[in-house]
Symmetry: C2
Subunit: 746 residues, 2 copies
């Protein structure tokens, strides 16, 4: 594979050289002239004219255009500032970010309006950079990152160049050639070389940092007709496709388009992926990059927006913020381009409606036009969906079960794929649950106060490693108080979760099941999660079955993180209410205050309040089960962690099944002083049988509710009949999952 | 006073009796017939007809009417249930509340629509009560409250009767007389007697419980022509005006209308006050109740809505929920009636716009009509305002400084009035600060999960006494770690705060000052708070000067409660990050985990993040000042408290001045990953001089900012010149407050 690509790259390079005028090649190797008219990489003059003429008829475009004009107008009356480099989050850092955003918008406004003042202003800002950039050395505050010059890390430098490539493309023809030469030499090529020559290793990384760097250099190459830059971007610094944009498309996505770093990072990478792809499609259409790898860019975007919670927020798995949502500018860009390039999908138009803005290009114009033509606001409903993980799709996956419509829909998310490299968390078989407009059983996300300068320059905090990445920070079983794979990234990368089954065909009985074997030495684990609707319950409920097996006795912790206020528990407990100590000494336990604990042999019930609704966990009893109440914030002298509660069910056993129901119930409105049904309707959960063939669990509750839940633990099959024995009793069922006694909503 | 009222009451009673037909009087003492046509107490047939005809032209009325119809339609197809009494928050409790709400709406809809099915349904529900009520005894679960029969406390029984009096008034003519007789005997009179005869003491209390009881009995009397009920309600059970509605109007409000229990409880009391007043005005206009005590009911409503934060939420001082707002149904009622009875005030119409609903009466129709006729949504802007406290207006007060408009306005609230009876908190000179749409320096409010049954039946929790009422739960100085007045209500009631000055004439320099002397034995305290605008700062800032004096050395704690995340402090501290203990042993300190502490002689800076903005406290240095970080949640085995952070400045001294600035600054948007100005612009605060004549404080910051703040500590005067000395230096200024060096916004 590699050698084939190497050959192609060399051929392309030779082809490019062979048609370049000799004089220019002598001056600047790799440069050829004669490309398409500029602007060429994101919007053409004709596109600009169309926007100018049609914006008034498409409100979303009119608004986006007005906002861009407002931003640039303000910028153009302010003094031009290119301050000396500063720390992450510093005024200097923010100013350089602001500059590239404003230059990009100004360039595009020049193309759209034809008003030369925009172009002149961009030229003036670039002149300022041309005056200061050559004197800059590597940023002194890079701290374990490849340094930039303007910014503490080269990643930000690539962000700058991606935006400025677009700006420069737009204003190119309006600037005198001497000014262009100075800008290209002092800043643009200088920066592109810094990214792709000085930091060749970072450039060749199969990672979002590599994507940004390749897009930046490649886009500049397409604008200034430097084929070397373009080929380096496509095939890596050695032109052998061991690095480069295409290799990233091969390896960073599963065949379903799932991005191994998770939704937060695909969000970030979508911009350079789509921006460079669009530039290639326009200038080098022969690459057919949108079709590449069975339209992997389409799948990449879809897998991102399809993981979103009903309110548009992306699940904060792995290193991720809690609030990143589909209205992020990167996703706005990708949605518009995908809508234009892959076809007018009504669900995608629904996402565009959630976003409420479009990019200033032909693609944005198309989306805005279709939104204007739509009689009703297009709704988003992706339904339940599973994504495989790994470049070959054989390394587990991610399952999403949905029920209901709109922002109040329920969504159950389970993670059973790959580790996800440096930003991965040790959280195999972790789940989160979104309900009533909130992530009620949440993922902690990252420990980072992004861009807040006094918080370690806005970078990742030590607590990201010591807490947020650890298994106990997630909703999955922890063995012997130790993080999966001992917290060693390399060990985690070497394995993956295993898909077992995913069945979403019956809207009342949806289920997904997966395994994580050996993540703790000698322990195999299977988690099956169901999302059930029954007419005797007002909201869908979660049934969770975690089956752990081991040769020797182990300590199993089954954690549920929540937000809001503890309301009641049926387990008598002792409260550490006058002296508090951490729950453990390492693997994240040192960051949890132990607030209370109690022991029971019977069903465990815990109820909390979050927003306007109550939530109860009702878990099957087992001898000598400990219930622990804990809260983040211990061993955190810098107040970096967010203080939030959790409960843990703890049991020592060889094999064990955690069987629990999560029931949303009741109503609370403090302002109206109304509260109803603060106690759950489900009263009992009992494991009737569990072995290698299957698990059988009984759930009982009000109104005569009695479910018997059967789950296949053996080879997945929708048609096989399974027999599970418990002593003299045997339970027979067909398929991967069945629930007896369920009364569907009418 | 009392004797005069007694005479009037007797005269009124005699007058009423003298015109009653003899026959009826013989049957039911105190009853007379011949009153105005029914319905008569809240809306007339003509009012109903007008609503029917005009609702379609006034959208708010149309919506309110549609909502009422939806509620009642659902009720009328459900089975009628009058379950045996249950605990607070139980299904039974909620059902009886639902029943009276639905009966009231159904009655009013009968009057508006003329559809007799509404009346028949109300009759059927009342029949069900007639069948069960006579057999009920006192509720067994009253727990220190006067019991009701349907409900655990008689207060709820009064709520029921107020609503049902309106319902019964509306449907009276539609029910056969035999049915009426049974309903009146078995339920209505039975309940009125329970409230006013069995619980005469509660009935005569000058307290909101008394208001509900008198309104319930009085309104019933006006409906069924029972003058005894009416006079008992007006003048108390002994007709001597030692209790009763008029006495409540005399004593529960300051001359400015401020209600001594605070905004949350006036909200609750506004309904019976206005409902009974409206009924009196319609049936006994000679009482001129709306004009009573220089229109005290108008002032009572205005003082409530004028204390509201810019988002409409009422400051949760004393026992109060954090979310009660001007859109509470009780305030909707009072706003509509006040608008109709006291005149069409544009600000009040603005409150009605915030409410978005109206009552189904002529007053509601008028508000809806004026809202429909208004071209723009009326805005609310009460400006800065002060209320005196105490029935005579001589017992301190409440000050509110406002700056800016809309929900983002700043509001500084300081409390220096009376204790406020059983719901009062020991919080003299407490302040709260609202900014950027949030209560950023908050009042804890009550400790109560209102109506959540598993939380002690939804009643007040033990932590209300042990924490929420204590001084340290507030933002005011605590002496020697002990609550004001030793936490003894009687002692607190015996004293009050003292107004010093309130100056809001200069929009850039607003100030208020008050004293609390002897709340801790031997300690006098003066707090002066300023709200300043300077063009070098993006938002108004608070300057706080607390001057404490004592003969002996004391420990002074200056607390600031906040929400959100600690960001940075300049004081080196030791963190209790691996073992935590409470901050103290009593007076609320037992509920605070001590998280960290450090000592400094210099300026103290603490910055936190709340929502999208940063907040810094910059406090003057003083030798050996301790900075303590604490968090609620200790000694709370039932998880009743809300876990929230605070900082405390602690100093041991005889006389001391806490001088601090609270500066809002910067911007954080996690979803956009943007953060700027996470550090404050104010850098220094220094006390230049302070004595009995005045205090002089210097504030310095970026952009050459240097203010010298002069505050008069002696007799308040706007014209006197004051000289404050510090060693050889003297500072001279005129008036109560002046700020040199301020640069007003342009």
């Amino acid at each position: 594979m590699t050698s084939r690509w190497h050959a192609l790259a060399v051929a392309a390079a030779i082809a490019a050289l062979s048609c370049a005028p000799a004089g220019l090649v002598a001056q600047q190797p790799g440069v050829r002239s004669g490309g398409a008219a500029r602007p060429r990489i994101l919007l053409s003059r004709a596109d600009g004219a169309a926007i100018r003429q049609q914006a008034a008829t498409a409100p979303v475009m009119a608004r986006s255009l007005a906002e861009a004009k407002a931003v640039v107008s303000a910028a153009m009356v302010a003094p031009i500032e290119t301050p000396p480099p500063g720390e992450a989050g510093s005024a200097s850092h923010e100013k350089h970010k602001q500059n590239y955003r404003e230059m990009q918008l100004a360039g595009m406004l020049y193309t759209i309006t034809g008003d030369v003042r925009y172009a002149t202003w961009v030229g003036r800002v670039l002149d300022a950079y041309a005056g200061m950039y050559p004197a800059l050395g590597p940023h002194p505050l890079s701290k374990n990152q490849a340094p930039g010059k303007l910014f503490h890390q080269s990643l930000n430098e690539a962000n700058w160049l991606v935006a400025v490539a677009i700006a420069y493309d737009c204003v190119y023809e309006a600037l005198p050639s001497a000014q262009r030469a100075r800008i290209e030499t002092n800043v643009l090529r200088n920066m592109a070389d810094w990214l792709s020559v000085e930091h060749a290793k970072e450039f060749d990384r199969i990672h979002n940092h590599g994507t940004w760097a390749t897009a930046a250099v490649g886009m500049l190459g397409l604008v200034i007709d430097d084929t070397t830059y373009v080929n380096r971007a496509l095939y890596g610094t050695k032109f052998d496709k061991k690095g480069g944009f295409l290799r990233q498309l091969d390896e960073l996505f599963s065949p379903d388009g799932y991005y191994m770093e998770g939704p937060y990072y695909i969000r970030y990478a979508l911009l350079p992926f789509y921006q460079f792809a669009e530039a290639l499609e326009r200038v080098r259409p022969r690459e057919r990059v949108y079709a590449y790898r069975d339209s992997i860019l389409k799948k990449g975007l879809y897998s991102a927006v399809q993981t979103a919670f009903p309110n548009g927020v992306l699940p904060p798995v792995n290193d991720a913020s809690r609030t990143m949502a589909v209205n992020a500018p990167e996703i706005v860009l990708a949605v518009d381009l995908a809508y234009a390039r892959y076809g007018a999908d009504r669900n995608l138009l629904g996402v565009a409606a959630q976003q409420g803005e479009v990019i200033l290009s032909a693609a944005g114009m198309r989306v805005a036009r279709d939104l204007a033509a739509s009689r009703t606001t297009p709704a988003v409903n992706w339904g339940s969906v599973e994504f495989t993980d790994g470049a070959d799709g054989q390394r587990g996956g991610t399952g999403i079960l949905r029920s209901g419509a709109g922002e109040g829909a329920s969504m159950l998310f389970m993670k059973y794929g790959v580790h996800g490299e440096g930003h991965g968390h040790f959280d195999k078989l972790h789940f989160s649950f979104f309900e009533n407009g909130r992530e009620v059983i949440p993922d902690y996300g990252f420990s980072r106060w992004i861009n807040i300068e006094p918080k370690f320059g806005g970078r990742y905090l030590p607590e990201n490693d010591s807490y947020a990445m650890q298994t106990i920070a997630h909703n999955t079983v922890v063995v012997d108080g130790r993080t999966q794979n001992g917290g060693v990234e390399r060990a985690a990368e070497a394995m993956s979760g295993k898909r077992h089954f995913f069945e979403a065909g019956d809207a009342n009985v949806q289920a997904m099941s997966a395994r994580a074997d050996g993540y703790s030495p000698g322990v195999n684990m299977q988690r099956t999660m169901l999302l059930l609707r029954d007419r005797r319950l007002p909201y869908p409920v979660v049934v969770d079955l975690v089956r752990v097996t081991s040769e020797t006795a182990r300590q199993y912790d089954w954690p549920v993180h929540f937000r809001g206020q503890m309301i009641a528990s049926n387990v008598p407990y002792t409260s550490a209410s006058t002296a508090q100590a951490p729950l453990g000494e390492g693997f994240g336990y040192q960051h949890l205050w132990k607030e209370a604990s109690g022991t029971t042999d019977s069903t465990v019930k815990v109820t909390w309040l979050d927003g306007g609704r109550f939530y109860s966990v009702i878990a099957a009893g087992a001898p000598n089960t400990e219930l622990v109440f804990a809260r983040t914030g211990a061993s955190d002298p810098n107040f970096n962690l967010i203080v939030e509660p959790m409960v843990v069910l703890r049991r020592r056993a060889t094999d064990h099944v955690f069987a629990a129901v999560v029931e949303p119930h009741g109503y609370f409105n403090e302002a109206q002083e109304r509260s109803v049904e603060a106690r759950p309707r489900i009263s009992g959960v009992r494991v009737l049988a569990s072995d290698a063939a299957g698990s059988v669990v009984e759930v009982t509750g009000e109104g005569g509710l009695r479910w018997v839940v059967h789950v296949n633990n053996g080879t997945a099959s929708r048609s096989a009949t399974h027999v599970v024995r418990s002593g003299a009793t045997s339970f027979t069922f067909t398929g991967n999952v069945s629930v007896a006694g369920l009364e569907p909503p009418r």
